[in-house]
């Protein structure tokens, strides 16, 4: 059966299994990825089937995980490391930014860094501090890194394969509150390019651009808006570095309006970059300023407040209304 219905986490698991099976140089590394199968069970059963040499439980030291992955990549391996939660990546940030991102350039292209860093990210699961953040802009800002995030099971399966095959370091953000959402995965399909945006839903009045966990919210907002007679196009950007501006431009030239939606704080976020570039590219097509919906310039709040913090259906619809009011 080529097409299977899988939860997003299971699609990632199948993707990792395939990568380990296909290429003996692929390694999985991280805290609790072995016997436990990861705290979200994304690596469930992999150590049992591929052994402790391929699926490596590491000491609890994020800089060490990424730093040794760099060394393993220099030796010809393709490490896929798991950072347990978004807020735990910062001890490894130095290795990612000062070492991993720059190694290829410093060697004038003579060495490659095929390292994938998987990070479960975003809120909405009622977690404690440091377990709900969206730091994607901090990585997208760094030249030498690529940053992607799937929003559904099929992309989870295929984008992870593509990230592992890439000779560049890829920060792979997994929308943790979508881990349990089921979707169809065609394991024999020919996937599109890793960094191409996808039109999730066509519309003619306004474009919503999102990625990862917010795609679902935007699709629901589009459905609600349709009941009021508004035709909303939803783009799943899939990649935050590079960003497929051509697809956004094409959509905005059609609709004349753009709202960018993400969980991360709006200030200096990916929405700012998209708004600036689309304003440059589509100035004469825009009927309204590009609006952004996202998190506030505040630490991610305690779980009892996250519903207020996270962009939900109403906040997205409010932005749609504001845009259409121009």
């Amino acid at each position: 059966m080529a097409v299977q219905k899988l939860p997003l986490a299971k699609a990632l698991n199948e993707s990792l299994r395939k990568a380990l099976d296909t290429d003996p140089k692929v390694l999985i590394m991280g805290e609790d990825v072995g016997k436990l199968g990861g705290v979200f069970r994304v690596t469930d059963g992999l150590q049992k089937d591929f052994g402790e040499d391929r699926v490596i439980d590491t000491p609890l030291a994020e800089s060490g995980i990424v730093g040794t992955a760099i060394g393993l990549a220099l030796r010809g391996y393709r490490p896929v490391v798991e950072i347990q939660f978004d807020g735990f990546v910062f001890p490894a940030y130095d290795q990612i930014v000062t070492q991993l991102a720059k190694m290829h350039a410093r060697a004038l292209g003579k060495i490659k860094m095929p390292v994938v860093i998987r990070i479960p990210y975003g809120g909405g699961i009622g977690a404690v501090e440091h377990h709900s953040e969206s730091p994607e802009a901090l990585f997208a800002h760094v030249a030498g890194l690529k940053v992607v995030s799937p929003s559904n099971s099929s992309d989870a399966y295929w984008m992870l394969q593509q990230a592992i095959q890439s000779d560049d370091p890829v920060i792979f953000f997994e929308p943790k509150r979508r881990y349990w959402d089921k979707g169809e995965v065609d394991v024999e399909a020919i996937p599109g390019p890793l960094h191409k945006a996808r039109i999730d839903r066509s519309g003619s009045d306004i474009t919503l651009a999102a990625y990862g966990p917010m795609v679902k919210v935007c699709v629901e907002a589009a459905a609600a808006a349709a009941e009021e007679g508004k035709s909303v196009e939803v783009l799943d950007l899939r990649s935050m570095s590079p960003i497929d501006f051509d697809t956004i431009q094409k959509s905005v030239e059609k609709t004349g309006r753009l709202v960018v939606v993400h969980e991360a704080p709006v200030f200096y976020g990916s929405g700012a970059e998209i708004a600036a570039r689309i304003t440059e590219r589509c100035f004469y097509h825009l009927e309204a300023p590009v609006l952004r919906v996202g998190g506030y310039h505040a630490p991610y709040p305690p779980a009892r407040l996250e519903e207020e913090y996270l962009p939900g259906l109403d906040r997205v619809l409010d932005a749609v209304d504001r845009s259409l009011a121009y």
Binding site: S63, I70, R75, Y77, R106, A107, I111, S241
Partner: protein
């Protein structure tokens, strides 16, 4: 030259090196020494070395040429040809001794001062100068000489070395990996994490700490409350302190640690107790933070002088050897000077090259914008 096949090693009990006795971190107890500052050959119960006169002259030549190269680079910086230079003056024995202990298939992860180790690896010294001149950030292919790029953020490379060594073990190879770092870097979390990872995975890596007493203006007392080699004990592997100005001891101790790694017995920390005679880099002024007397005391322990005394007293080298080496030094200095002055600035488009292996739409877009901007001047006839 090769010194691979000479010294026989005695098996040793590694735990002897890691006494928990309290001692000031910068005193010199338990220093493995085979050649005294006066140039006298002495024995050590656990480390011995037996080199031919030819091999001894080879070590001397390495140190002299490395010092000459270093002096030339310092001058080039003063003449404005290099933006910065990190001198190794005083650390020649630590670098040549450890560097000559390596096999070709071993892999080196340097910090930014390992010019002597690079020399031992056969890296053309002029290759080291590109980053200090500002034409690249490294530029050489690490796999050509198994010598990784210089790493500026201190301690980072100890993790790369550990990961690489984990890969060596996975491959079933019997080569070893060596990571260089300094006393300042020993304070970094990455160094502690590399100790943890290497111990847990029994990685074939040697941590070679050149304790040159100063991390820019901070003395070792600001980095540690125990002698650095004793750190290893807490991680479960041996640590040994060697006279870093004694090329023979550095060679013997490093060779022993590398062979231990090859035998699958895991990491070793070697602390080479030495002294940076010059500034941290050409940007700082050591007279502001340390006393002249200190440098003078260390000058008496000069690594090159002591080997020369030994060579002369033992009749291993005659005047012709030293004269010929002087000439070779001058030739090297001239070659380096000319190579630096001839080093072209990179093409402007190099900014956009090698940012990514598989390309990136934004880099392509910005390269095109840059080209269009440049072309606009031509159109205006400027």
């Amino acid at each position: 030259m090769t010194v691979e096949s000479t010294a026989a090693r005695k098996p040793r009990r590694s735990t002897k090196r890691v006494s928990a006795a309290k001692e000031p971190q910068n005193s010199e107890p338990q220093l493995v020494q085979l050649l005294t500052p006066e140039g006298e050959r002495v024995e050590h119960p656990e480390y011995e070395i037996d080199l031919t006169p030819d091999e001894l002259r080879g070590l001397y030549r390495d140190m002299v040429l490395t010092r000459r190269f270093d002096a030339e680079a310092t001058s080039l910086q003063r003449q404005g040809e290099l933006g910065l230079w990190a001198s190794l003056l005083g650390q020649e024995a630590a670098q040549i001794g450890s560097g000559r202990a390596l096999r070709d298939d071993d892999y080196v992860f340097p910090t930014y001062r390992e010019h002597g180790v690079a020399w031992c690896r056969g890296v053309d010294p002029t290759n080291l100068l590109g980053m200090f001149r500002g034409v690249n950030h490294g530029g050489w292919d690490p796999s050509t000489n198994n010598f990784h790029l210089y790493t500026i953020v201190i301690g980072s490379q100890t993790l790369h070395a550990t990961g690489y060594a984990m890969g060596v073990a996975k491959d079933g190879a019997d080569s070893a990996v060596i990571a260089y770092f300094g006393d300042g870097a020993s304070s970094q979390g990455d160094v502690a994490e590399s100790f943890t990872f290497s111990a847990v995975y029994n990685a074939p890596v040697v941590f070679f700490c050149q304790n040159n007493q100063w991390a820019i203006s901070e003395p070792t007392e600001k980095q540690t409350r125990v002698p650095l080699y004793q750190r290893a004990q807490g991680f479960g592997f041996p640590g040994v302190r060697v006279d870093g100005n004694d090329v023979l001891a550095c060679l013997a101790v490093t060779r022993s640690a590398l062979e231990r790694a090859r035998r699958g017995e895991g990491p070793t920390l070697v602390e080479a107790f030495t002294y940076r005679m010059g500034a941290h880099t050409t940007s700082d002024d050591p007279t502001k933070y340390r006393a002249d007397e200190e440098r003078q005391a260390w000058e008496a322990k000069d690594p090159i002088l002591r080997l020369r005394t030994y060579l002369e007293n033992a009749g291993h080298a005659d005047e012709a050897f030293f004269t010929s080496l002087d000439e070779e030094s001058e030739t090297l200095g001239k070659r380096v000077r000319e190579a630096v002055r001839a080093m072209p600035d990179p093409d402007h488009l190099a900014i956009f090259e090698n940012v990514y292996a598989d390309g990136h739409a934004l880099v392509d877009e910005e390269r095109a914008q840059f080209l269009a901007y440049q072309a606009s001047f031509a159109e205006e006839g400027n």
